[in-house]
């Protein structure tokens, strides 16, 4: 991208556009620019998941964490700024971190002990499952494990044919949309509504002349927290909507 400092409405607005800092007028002017600017479109494709990822922190947490003095200089800002999960009843018994480990031999011994314990646990699981593999490394599977994802297909009353796939990921949910009979001009957006009534735009892209689009957006919400997935036009009217069943029934 060249000329990032160009005049309003041009390349220079991309960052503010993604971070939600533009007024409605600036927004639509930038979206017009986007339509005719391939370099902004490819830059947008590279950066557009970031606002959703920033959503992993609430505004309050972010201000607490980042608002003060240079947090890079206080290495433990994260642990200091946020309450510990298990309470703070460990006052005084914390060892100075730099003093570890007492000896490498001790560490190795512990590791070996744990490796044996793990092997034994796996054997027990395999036995319980009738010889089947109980757990696959990195992909926990068990009787109580929720479905890995969900898929929905629909034709909306606007005539949009949409298929929405939701995949559980470590960081949240990957939402993929494949759609046809979409508007052929303007900007299209994918919105997620969560159970608390919050709506978030998780992706936007340019309409195609064929009316077909395929897009994948990372959403920093766990699948059960997602209530609706919407396709909206740049003007914000809802073109298609998928309502997910209440959690547990995916």
């Amino acid at each position: 991208m060249t000329g990032i400092d160009a005049a309003d409405g041009g390349h220079g607005d991309l960052g503010a556009y993604l971070l939600g800092g533009l007024s409605a007028g600036e927004r639509s002017r930038f979206e017009e620019h986007l339509f005719g600017c391939a370099s902004c479109r490819s830059e947008l494709a590279r950066l557009r998941d970031l606002p959703a990822r920033l959503g992993a922190l609430s505004a309050e947490e972010a201000n607490q964490l980042l608002g003060g003095d240079d947090p890079a200089e206080t290495g433990s800002a994260a642990s200091a700024a946020l309450p510990l999960a298990g309470g703070t009843a460990d006052g005084g018994r914390r060892r100075p971190v730099g003093a570890w480990p007492e000896s490498l031999i001790e560490l190795r011994r512990r590791a070996r002990r744990r490796a044996f314990a793990l092997a034994a646990a796996v054997a027990v699981l395999a036995g319980a499952a009738g010889g089947a593999v109980g757990y696959v490394a990195g992909a926990p599977r068990g009787p109580a494990e929720p479905a890995p994802g969900a898929s929905y297909a629909l034709t909306s009353r606007h005539g949009v044919q949409a298929r929405v796939d939701l995949d559980r990921k470590a960081w949240g949910t990957e939402v993929s949309l494949t759609a046809a009979e979409l508007p052929t001009t303007g900007v299209l957006e994918l919105w997620i509504l969560d159970g608390s009534g919050q709506s978030n735009r998780v992706g936007s892209w340019m309409a195609t002349t064929t009316g077909k689009s395929a897009i994948t957006c990372p959403v920093p919400l766990q699948l059960p927290a997602i209530e609706r997935v919407q396709v909206r036009s740049g003007g914000r009217s809802v073109l298609a909507e998928v309502r997910l069943p209440p959690s547990g029934a995916s």
């Binding site: 607005d13 960052g15 980042l66 490498l104 926990p140």
Partner: protein
């Protein structure tokens, strides 16, 4: 992580000690929050550092990101083991279900990695992300609040996102 040789002290010891000095505190914070078990946190951190050191992987990106992800796996292994073992009744509070534990730990990992990424971008970029995204200021409001021209807010917003992207990539978080 490089395994260079240094005279005298064993290089392994140097590497492990360095990992603790550089990352021990942050790792301990993460594990305490994720495991809900302050007493076991130090063990998890030790095991994590040990695993990373034993594997001596060619880590091209952020060691801290790698350590966090390894700690996540150690904690999940611990849960898996604990929930598969018959427990003396009354001695330990009931464990949450395995999927719940994984979900909670992963959600926290996502957050911790994002916190880490935000800490690593420049102050100027961070301020603009905070103003526009988190505090929902317009460009004009952010310009006034930060005492810089609106055009600077816009260009910093763009370069902040670019820096964030490359920091996240460096930490092994895919786009």
């Amino acid at each position: 992580m490089r395994r260079a040789r240094r005279n005298g002290q064993s290089m392994d010891e140097v590497v492990v000690a360095e990992m603790y000095r550089e990352h021990g505190e942050a790792l301990l914070g993460f594990v305490r929050r994720a495991s809900g078990d302050p007493d076991g946190a130090e063990d998890v951190v030790q095991e994590t550092v040990l695993k990373v050191w034993q594997a001596a992987p060619e880590i091209s990106g952020s060691l801290r990101g790698y350590l966090f992800r390894t700690a996540r796996n150690v904690m999940i292994d611990n849960y898996r083991r604990a929930s598969s073992r018959p427990r003396r009744s009354g001695s330990v509070p009931a464990l949450e279900s395995m999927p719940d534990a994984v979900e909670r730990i992963d959600a926290l990992l996502t957050r911790v990695l994002m916190e880490e990424a935000l800490r690593r971008i420049s102050r100027e970029h961070r301020d603009v992300v905070l103003a526009l995204h988190y505090n929902q200021l317009t460009v004009a409001q952010a310009a006034a609040a930060l005492g810089i021209p609106a055009g600077t807010v816009k260009s910093r917003a763009f370069y902040a996102l670019r820096e964030l992207r490359s920091v996240l990539e460096d930490m092994g978080v895919e786009g």
